[in-house]
Symmetry: C2
Subunit: 624 residues, 2 copies
């Protein structure tokens, strides 16, 4: 029989009963699915019972209510617990709970925003807390709403460095609206964690990073209650509740038993487990809606967009154009925010940072936290632009991958692409970024060659859902497009063409300029080339490519400042494959040797992607 729990009058006995119910439902759902993590759910049952039973402020009928608290399961494998909470809150039925992990169910193996109350996908450990930092940043500095961000963390994931990036940034930004709850159940997947039940160690680390830390018995509702109350009282510091718990708590043959990670209770043992838990109530928590409704943040265009422009023949680095365009977009739209990995004078996000300091978040040298913060901003309906050297976005690839599963809307700008950066050497050169970013579900990958093109593309990114990536150049390049030209995503520019083109050259970024120089050489020799600037690497302009390749007898050169794999060359081949590849004669100029230091010209020569190499490749094809 259904019993109501009122958040205002809840007592320890009700918390205990609710915790047992959460355990029962965690077992039932995972045994039903024949997979899942009941034991990792059971350890945190009291922690979540007290949260749901008293502290959480959430309007389950209106997940978009801007004043709702946020609850993120950083230990995403405890999804049975989360879904059991949703059932206890009346948000899903028992029937739906039992669809756990079925094909088509919203209740996936790890939480995803297929459920409207889930902000972000988790399941790759160490990501929920940094994303929580992003949501809390938005809450404190942008929304200025009193919602709290509650993050349930596992102890195994405390080994992930990204957690400590989150600790540092939460403290630096004084995020007293962030409460991390550490379910210290001691047991990882195959063995004890590095710190076992040494809660003092976690507490000392948190304090050394500037947090308030509270140690509790994670199975004692009253201790948990006091800890949460204390957390809410903190001013200017985030709180870590270190809760000593037992994995599989409440069932004799699961409790604190090694080797039970990720194993559902066998059907034959289910009745015994449920009997030990002894809960046959159907408790329903009347979760209070947030005090202050607030307005949903809906800022769109708040002023006229005046993009910067350059005159033909000017010279400007595309990274500079990014900076100036971002500033212009910041003037036109108050939902645009920016962040950078402490290289804003290189990526040029500094222009935005200086003009809109309230909407700029310095993320220091912590790329994972930077992407996580951008995801958090996306949760809060902002339009985040995050920038660093494109090479260093590789540091956050797992976060970018997961952001796609979250359906987050991120705009990433990666500067210092390729060997054209020159003397700094290979550690600073992005040579895998196109491959990495193309292989993100639903991504948009842009690589402009001049300043006007860059500015237009940055403006389009602001209106583009999903994850978009802009690859910018360190050196200045000539402005080759007038300020009124358009560069739709998915399009391309035919830079050179005639009625007598013999070879198609496809380039992007720096190689467009190398190819223009090659075209001049070749024209003097009487060979006309159709040159395509494929600034939109994904989606790519397959129609224009196909037309060009047909018009030039299948002769095709692709030149890119990137490793040969997964970049522009393969994007072009994929676009042509199918019908367009009839009789293709293809030369791929890409970086095939490990570069060192040197001038951009020396390095592009050594890599085989400069004007001479392009011209030579064209000449070679003329004879085929």
């Amino acid at each position: 029989m259904t019993q109501q729990i009122d958040q205002g009058t809840v007592d320890a006995e009700q918390w205990r009963a609710l915790a047992q119910q959460l355990r029962v439902d965690s077992i039932r759902s995972s045994t039903g699915a024949s997979s899942g993590h009941p034991t990792s759910s059971m350890s945190a049952a009291e922690l979540m019972a007290v949260l749901l039973g008293k502290y959480l402020r959430y309007d389950f009928d209106a997940p978009g209510n801007p004043a709702n608290d946020h609850l993120i399961f950083s230990k995403g494998h405890a999804s049975p617990l989360l879904y059991s909470m949703y059932k206890a809150a009346g948000a899903i039925t028992d029937g739906e709970l039992m669809t756990y992990r079925e094909f088509g169910s919203r209740l996936q193996g790890h939480p995803t925003p297929a459920l409207p109350w889930v902000d972000v996908a988790t399941g790759s450990l160490g990501q929920g807390l940094p994303i929580g930092v992003g949501v809390a940043l938005a809450g404190k500095y942008l929304d200025k709403l009193p919602y709290r961000v509650w993050v349930l963390c596992g102890d195994s994931e405390m080994a992930e460095g990204s957690m400590w990036e989150a600790f540092q940034h939460a403290s630096f930004y004084k995020l007293d609206n962030l409460i991390a709850v550490l379910d210290m159940n001691r047991l990882g997947q195959t063995r004890e964690t590095m710190d076992g039940w040494h809660g003092d160690r976690y507490a000392a680390r948190a304090e050394a990073f500037g947090w308030h830390a509270i140690q509790v018995n994670g199975h004692d509702p009253e201790e948990i209650d006091h800890a949460y109350a204390e957390a809410l009282e903190q001013e200017g510091v985030p709180t870590l509740v270190v809760a000593q718990t037992k994995k599989g708590r409440g069932v004799s043959f699961l409790e604190d038993v090694d080797g039970m990670h990720g194993k559902p209770v066998k059907p034959d043992d289910e009745a015994k487990a449920l009997e030990e838990l002894g809960a046959d109530n159907n408790l329903l928590v009347e979760v209070q809606k947030p005090d202050s409704g607030g307005e949903t943040f809906t800022a769109g265009l708040t002023g006229e967009l005046k993009l910067p422009t350059w005159e033909l023949g000017d010279s400007e680095a595309t990274r500079n154009a990014y900076g100036k365009a971002l500033k212009a977009i910041g003037a036109a739209r108050e939902d645009v925010v920016a962040m950078d990995g402490e290289v804003s004078n290189s990526t040029k996000s500094e222009e935005f940072a200086e003009t809109y300091p309230d909407r700029y978040f310095e993320m220091f040298i912590a790329e994972q936290q930077m992407i996580a913060a951008a995801v958090g901003m996306s949760v809060r309906k902002r339009v985040p632009f995050a920038s660093t050297f494109a090479a260093f976005l590789s540091r956050a690839y797992d976060f970018i991958r997961m952001a796609a599963i979250s359906g987050a809307n991120l705009r990433l700008s990666g500067s210092h692409a390729g060997v054209s950066i020159g003397e700094d050497g290979p550690s600073q050169m992005a040579l895998e970024d196109l491959a990495m970013m193309r292989a993100v579900h639903g991504s948009t990958v842009l690589h402009p060659s001049d300043a006007n093109q860059t500015a237009k593309l940055v403006a389009e990114m602001a209106d583009t859902d999903g994850i978009s990536f802009l690859r910018t150049l360190r050196p200045s390049t000539p402005v080759i497009y007038g300020p009124d030209e358009e560069f739709p995503i998915g399009g391309s520019k035919v830079v050179r063409s005639s009625n007598d083109d013999k070879v198609t050259v496809v380039a992007a970024g720096i190689t467009v300029h190398n190819a223009i120089e090659a075209c001049e050489q070749l024209r003097r020799e009487g060979a006309n080339v159709r040159l395509i600037d494929a600034y939109s690497v994904k989606p790519i302009d397959a129609d224009t490519l196909r037309l060009a390749v047909r018009a030039t007898g299948g002769r095709l050169v692709v030149a890119e400042d990137h490793w040969p794999e997964g970049g522009l060359g393969e994007a072009v081949l994929s676009a042509l494959a199918g019908e367009g590849a009839e009789g293709l004669r293809f030369e791929h100029l890409a970086v095939k040797i490990m570069p060192g230091s040197g001038s951009p010209d020396e390095l592009m020569d050594a890599a085989g992607i400069n004007a001479n190499h392009i011209a030579e490749a064209v000449r070679g094809l003329l004879n085929r």
Copy 2:
């Protein structure tokens, strides 16, 4: 005039003079190059003068001497300081120093093993310390030699989570042979660091992670001397020396001045700077060779390799075959070591871990530290195999990228590829790993479909230089190859062929089995298919592909459990591009929608990569 410094009798005055010389040379080399980081070098001059002048044990004539200390500049941008040290040690001439950052010079913008005394490339921050942990692990547990690992860290990079992974692992493994020297110069690239000169914070964090911490004035040689002596006395704990320093120290217009990051002194100001530093000596440090020479570790095949075998028709997951093969290789070779991201019962490295616990290093849920440890093992001439879910290797992509620049020899095994994992959902599915790993310079990418093939490939990986990656499957698959078949890297297997093949199907891993099923369907319909198992995705067997596509009238289906970008499909297109693509009719079956949970069969059906979809694609091509 050259003056010798004897490590046995060095005094504070000599250290000071040496520090000034290191500053002078840092300025001269970077001003000569018109780029580089003199100010970040100058802050650490005394720290490195005391180290070089007294503590470092290194045979510069024999960088391969196994007893040499290791010195890693985690703050790789301070390369002018490192190269100035090499000059002061007599390892390079002043002439070579002045080639800094020139094309072809060994003295690149950031350190790389182009210089024989540099273990690993740095320049992506936060990597030197975790790699130092790997070297120290090898020193303490494998080499059992008394060398020390000295790591110079910057304060900006303390924001990288990977640094804290290193702190945790160094303490867990009691690495008293590891000394981290923190050059706390307060200033980052664009602003003050999050912690400024609060050395107490860094010390408290290090202590909370189980380290010994010592705070010093980083410009006082005697304090530094005492700190290093104290560090060497520690037993069972690593030491962090927190040194308060000033960026640009010693030159009035550089010292502690913001906005001077990464800026060389202008030629016009050089004389003034050098005059302020006042060093016109040519000090040469007689660096002592290590006490104990030791033997270079050269273990190769130490026993006969007896790979596990399976019979045709058996069923086994390729991840299981990996585990059994790795154990067998461990028996045959004592240079093989393994590590895992605390999922060894999923990746199946547990078999090795149980049998060779002395050569297994549990890296817990810290993938960056895992790859860094593998790099450190490679520095120490071991043959490391590191494993986790392939999806989570994305967490360490920057480390893998940098490992390629280091020329490290790593073997990576990534399990749980693709949607075929089933119920756990997209967070656990590797769908970008082929793209990611192909776009690593010099990499080898393998994706076996059966157990015997897996075992042979694992054995080949042990003999393969560079970075090799094995992609394994979660579910069991039928054994389709006999135990005596060979699977050379760069090869492929023609699984089905006849004299009348109409379409070529290329598959790898799970899709080989789907394709076999499709072939059976199609054969019943009278359509013969040539099926190629492209287990070697990079390098790929272009000859066999070309032959097959020609024999089947250009009709080609590629089926892969991966996003469409950068994986098997594009690898095949790249291999065929050039001559082979005459009249290609291409269908690419890959994962184009975001998967959820479900059974492997349901998910492969939804993704369009199961037998029915392959058969349908073949039928479609038959009519083209």
